[in-house]
Symmetry: C2
Subunit: 85 residues, 2 copies
């Protein structure tokens, strides 16, 4: 039962990150991004991955690994495009 709820929760929270990522990739507009907050979030979701591994809970591991990917991409784009905006 939990695994189903965890997977749905993970899918929903992952979906909610996608529009911002697409917007940043398409428009290279990083003006609204806060590198400090993304770094803090990146630290947090990385620790959630460790937490999920320790608990052997795939929903936590996968959804937070996706979030690591998204936020690492946002941070890369920020440092790559911040001068040009």
């Amino acid at each position: 039962m939990e695994i189903v709820i965890g997977i749905i929760a993970g899918i929903l929270t992952s979906i909610s990150m996608v529009p911002q990522l697409i917007k940043v990739i398409k428009e290279k507009d990083v003006a609204n991004l806060s590198p400090i907050m993304i770094t803090i979030l990146l630290g947090g979701v990385s620790m959630w991955v460790v937490y999920g591994v320790l608990l052997k809970e795939w929903p936590i591991i996968l959804s937070n690994a996706f979030s690591v990917l998204v936020n690492a991409t946002l941070l890369t784009y920020y440092f790559f495009y911040r001068e040009r905006t």
Copy 2:
């Protein structure tokens, strides 16, 4: 051990939400908010709370309950101030 990592992860991910919330509350500027994405995220973090309850894992419950609060506030501000921006 997991509980410490979960608590730190929860604190970091919660901190990363605060600046946007403060900005919206202070400036009443909801132009950048997407009600659809906030609703999806709200659904997701609510399910993470249920997931945490089922697993009896307080770090998951508390951090996602905080996220429910933050996103419910953002959504309320969006509907309250969208006309005036």
